[in-house]
């Protein structure tokens, strides 16, 4: 009676896709991607911004891991650092403010063949996106989240951020901020993140080591990466830069990364705090839990075409 008028199988390929034949490329024949091949737009960041280093190290990670070009999946929300996907020559998504994690979760859950890397800032992660940070962590959705924390809103030109320290003067706190800042490491541990690390853009080897460890983690891996905003909060992290007289103290090798309480306590270390992996544990990922449900229910419907599965339901509705 009301059957679809437009009902037809629609191809997702059309005139905006080149129909030229593509030579097969065996994985074994592939060379690691060069920086040139994976750089896209020139970054829009201010000269001296810490985010350049994070981008360069992401390229290094891709190169070192011999990642297949088409499998690189980069997602971001809104903010200076969230411009990230435009600078990577790969599949990327620049989503709305604060919602990069649920977007990336949709990709991760529906495409288990991809490892999604999400980049963003402290406002995106802990202010507008605070709710999503908590729930993505507790559900242990498999993806890597690098928060480039500059402790200020840069794109909107100098307002207080959720990680701005008490006393920080911005356009919205001209007398100095009075609000207790968020401690991202404690936040992540309390939310149930299964990999929690802290690094600084000024220490490239350390950033790369944390990114590699995060990539290897089967679950929600979170890295807080201090990344200075030279325009609106210069010198914010000098205390962690040895050449500026600061100290870059790493988490002790004796620290038990599976000890949640020890990790939480470690996160209270006086400024500039410690760098390294605070917490790492294995818990089933949301991805694995969903796959188990699928395996179970598909096992019961083994050998049936989708229309036959639906037909079984309809039989019960007669």
């Amino acid at each position: 009676m009301t059957e679809s008028a437009i009902l037809s199988l629609v191809s997702q390929r059309g005139p905006n896709t080149s129909t030229a034949p593509v030579a097969p490329l065996l994985d074994a024949d592939r060379k690691p991607l060069t920086k040139k091949e994976i750089s896209a737009d020139h970054p829009t960041w201010c000269p001296g911004c810490g985010d350049f280093a994070v981008l360069a190290l992401y390229f290094k990670l891709i190169e070192r891991r011999k990642m297949l070009h088409e499998k690189i999946t980069t997602v971001a929300g809104i903010g200076c650092s969230s411009r990230f996907p435009y600078f990577v020559q790969a599949h990327g998504a620049h989503f709305i403010h604060g919602r990069a994690l649920p977007f990336a979760s949709g990709v991760s859950l529906s495409r288990p063949d991809l490892h999604v890397c999400v980049f963003g800032g402290d406002g995106d992660a802990f202010s507008i996106g605070g709710n999503h940070f908590t729930h993505t962590a507790r559900k242990n959705i498999k993806l890597t989240y690098v928060v480039m924390d500059n402790s200020v809103y840069g794109l909107t030109k100098n307002q207080t951020s959720p990680t701005s320290p008490i006393g920080f003067k911005s356009k919205t706190d001209i007398w100095g901020s009075k609000d207790r800042p968020i401690n991202p490491i404690k936040q992540a541990i309390a939310a149930g993140a299964t990999f929690v690390a802290r690094t600084s853009a000024t220490n490239p080897n350390h950033v790369l080591a944390m990114m590699e460890a995060a990539m290897d983690h089967d679950g929600f891996s979170f890295i807080q990466c201090l990344s200075e905003c030279v325009e609106f909060y210069p010198g914010a992290f000098d205390a962690a830069i040895p050449r500026k007289g600061g100290v870059f103290n790493e988490v002790s090798k004796e620290h038990d990364v599976t000890d949640e309480y020890a990790a939480y306590k470690l996160a209270d270390t006086a400024w500039p705090g410690l760098f390294g992996v605070y917490y790492k544990t294995q818990r089933p990922t949301k991805n694995a839990n969903e796959q188990a449900i699928i395996n179970d229910l598909q096992g019961k419907a083994a050998g049936l075409e989708p229309w036959q599965i639906l037909k079984k339901n309809f039989e019960r509705m007669k």
Binding site: L7, L109, W307, K318
Partner: protein, 600 residues
């Protein structure tokens, strides 16, 4: 026991072609269950059926009704007036007696309503049958079942009253109640038999349905929410995300339960925004995903919806409308989300809106929405409402082997690709799912910023002009491809009623009723709300008056939301509105009376 007519030794049996039965009680009495059994029985007996229910929005308790209209011919609405009222309580009797036709039969629970308390004027107007439903149920199934079994006892009474097919009903009951404990089904059958065997010798009249028209046609019986969810599955949707809100939640729960069987999943998210964001992420992953909500949940989703428009991402958004604004009337019907569905969000953000008109239409509209979302790379809003979502109808079983489709993403490598190709002759955007190799090494980005053909941001005034036009023009192209609306009734006359969404049935019934009374009236139904198909202007030209019938407020301009939309396409003052905001479905007579009054 009292009856208006004097008791006869054996009641006469009347042949009927349709009946409207209203069951009134409290929400925990299992009223929906009796209604559901009647609807499914009608479906199995190849009869047309339509139901209507109200559920209180309180957590437990509160008055509730279920109305079922069973007919041997076409049933377009749940019926203005009931032929029979089954009232469980004093309050149900008082509140719903007015819905009964004069001379109609009311069966009441004489344990709750005493015969002597019935006003004499009621006895003269309606035929009363008192049955001690509560105590007879206890007698039949034991002391514990007082509230539980009386719905099934009442079903037995109705089965006797309407000479329903007992073997079929018994099978339905057995199927429904066969679970872990075999005693449950046995108890249910005892209650049913007690009701069925109750001596209705004093009933004024018994009924028998003439055989249905659709003989031989296999029918399925389900609610609009169920039909929509199964339609999405049939269309190939394998990922969804949502947040609990009435009356959308049923769709979410069904998809959560069913999708894993097909290798898919549904995620309950932390909030409405996360759920649309997750669905968009999955859509980008290569396979159209669904999110949905009702009322305030839709407001929360609009920013992300705007992103899907800008990035031109296929997406299905289900909006099961309820009374608004804000928390509004969560369990009442309203069609007041048309504006937000079409225009919600900042900026120029064209998207597709489709309004299913019946339970069956929910199934097919879902498939169509998915096809449109994919073909035009656009979000599509499926705009249903509380009435269509919760009512149960029987419809011809779809040819599943034919309609069920697979939309697995194509990840085969391509030489080169521009998602937002301005020179593409069809003007339509297509995305490559991540994981697709692009041999040229130039990969696309999807974004909410205005962008160039590869998705990279641009501040170019020229590109913004071109891209805005591109997003609009592809949907103009869709409008030109949509099936033209057809007139129900003659193509010329005095009055043309315009319906959209669930008002189609009552409007067509009003047309039938008014035509039978000699009026030159027709109707047209608009299924594709936004963009609209071509051809409406020509149809409107054949009538003196055009009245848009919709369940929302007339606003400052004195016309409802669809009326306003139509006026923006066809600026003609003869387009006027018939609107209401009482949170109830249309009564056929209400539409007819108001149309005739306005045309006077």
């Amino acid at each position: 026991m009292s009856t208006a007519a004097s008791p006869q030794s054996s009641p006469r049996i009347s042949k009927i072609s349709e009946a409207v039965i209203r069951i009134a009680g409290n929400s925990q009495d299992g009223i929906q269950a009796i209604g559901g059994f009647l609807a499914r029985l009608a479906g199995r007996s190849e009869q047309e059926v339509m139901t209507f229910m109200t559920i209180p929005s309180t957590i437990s308790g509160g008055p509730s009704i279920f109305q079922v209209r069973i007919g041997s011919g076409e049933v377009l609405s749940a019926g203005d007036q009931a032929d029979m009222l089954l009232a469980f309580y004093d309050h149900s009797y008082k509140a719903h007696l007015g819905s009964l036709k004069p001379g109609g039969i009311v069966i009441y629970d004489s344990d709750h309503l005493k015969a002597e308390d019935i006003p004499a004027e009621n006895l003269g107007k309606y035929r009363h049958v008192g049955v001690a439903i509560s105590s007879l149920t206890v007698e039949a199934i034991g002391g514990t079942g007082r509230d539980k079994g009386k719905n099934v006892f009442a079903l037995g009474l109705l089965a006797k009253m309407f000479d329903l097919n007992v073997p079929k009903l018994t099978r339905l009951l057995t199927e429904r109640f066969t679970g872990k404990d075999p005693k449950v089904a046995e108890t249910a059958l005892n209650a049913f038999n007690a009701g069925y065997n109750y001596q209705l010798a004093t009933a004024p009249e018994l009924f028998q349905f003439t055989p249905g028209e659709n003989v031989g046609q296999s029918q399925v019986v389900m609610s609009g929410n169920e039909a929509l969810a199964y339609g999405l599955i049939a269309a190939g949707v394998r990922f969804g995300a949502g947040y609990p809100i009435t009356p959308w939640s049923d769709i979410m729960e069904l998809l959560r339960r069913e999708l894993p069987k097909y290798g898919g999943m549904f995620q309950q998210c932390e909030d409405e925004i996360a759920s649309i964001s997750m669905a968009i992420g999955a859509s980008w992953g290569g396979r159209v995903a669904v999110t949905g909500s009702s009322g305030p949940g839709i407001s929360l989703k609009t920013e992300a919806l705007g992103w899907a428009v800008m990035a031109e991402m296929p997406l299905i958004v289900v909006d099961v409308q309820r009374g608004g604004p804000s928390t509004g009337m969560p369990t009442n019907i309203e069609q007041s989300d048309l504006n937000i569905a079409c225009f919600g969000g900042h900026g120029d953000s064209p998207r597709v809106v489709i309004g299913p008109s019946s339970v069956e239409d929910c199934f097919y509209s879902a498939i169509e929405a998915v096809d449109i979302a994919r073909k035009y790379s656009t979000p599509v809003v499926l705009l249903t409402d509380q009435g269509i979502a919760t009512r149960i109808e029987a419809f011809k079983e779809p040819d599943l082997q034919r309609v069920v489709q697979d939309i697995t993403p194509d990840l085969s490598p391509v030489a080169d690709h521009k998602p937002y190709d301005l020179s593409a002759p069809d003007g339509i955007t297509r995305h490559l799912a991540p994981g697709t190799r692009v041999a040229s090494g130039k990969y696309p980005v999807v974004t909410g910023l205005e962008h160039d053909e590869l998705g990279h941001p641009t501040g170019s005034p020229k590109l913004h002009v071109q891209m805005v036009a591109k997003r609009r023009n592809k949907l103009r192209k869709l409008a030109a491809e949509l099936p033209k609306p057809t007139v129900f009734g003659p193509a010329e006359g005095q009055i043309l009623l315009v319906s959209w969404g669930s008002s189609k049935g009552p409007v067509q019934e009003a047309v039938k009723l008014a035509r039978a009374a000699g009026h030159a009236i027709s109707s047209v139904h608009i299924k594709y709300v936004h963009p609209m198909p071509h051809g409406l202007e020509e149809i409107f030209a054949g009538f003196r008056h055009v009245f848009v019938v919709e369940l929302n407020d007339e606003g400052f301009a004195g016309i409802g939301q669809m009326g306003g939309l139509l006026r923006s396409h066809i600026p003609d003052a003869k387009i006027r509105g018939i609107t209401k905001t009482d949170g109830l479905t249309w009564k056929v007579k209400e539409i007819m009376d108001r149309a005739l009054e306005m045309a006077r």
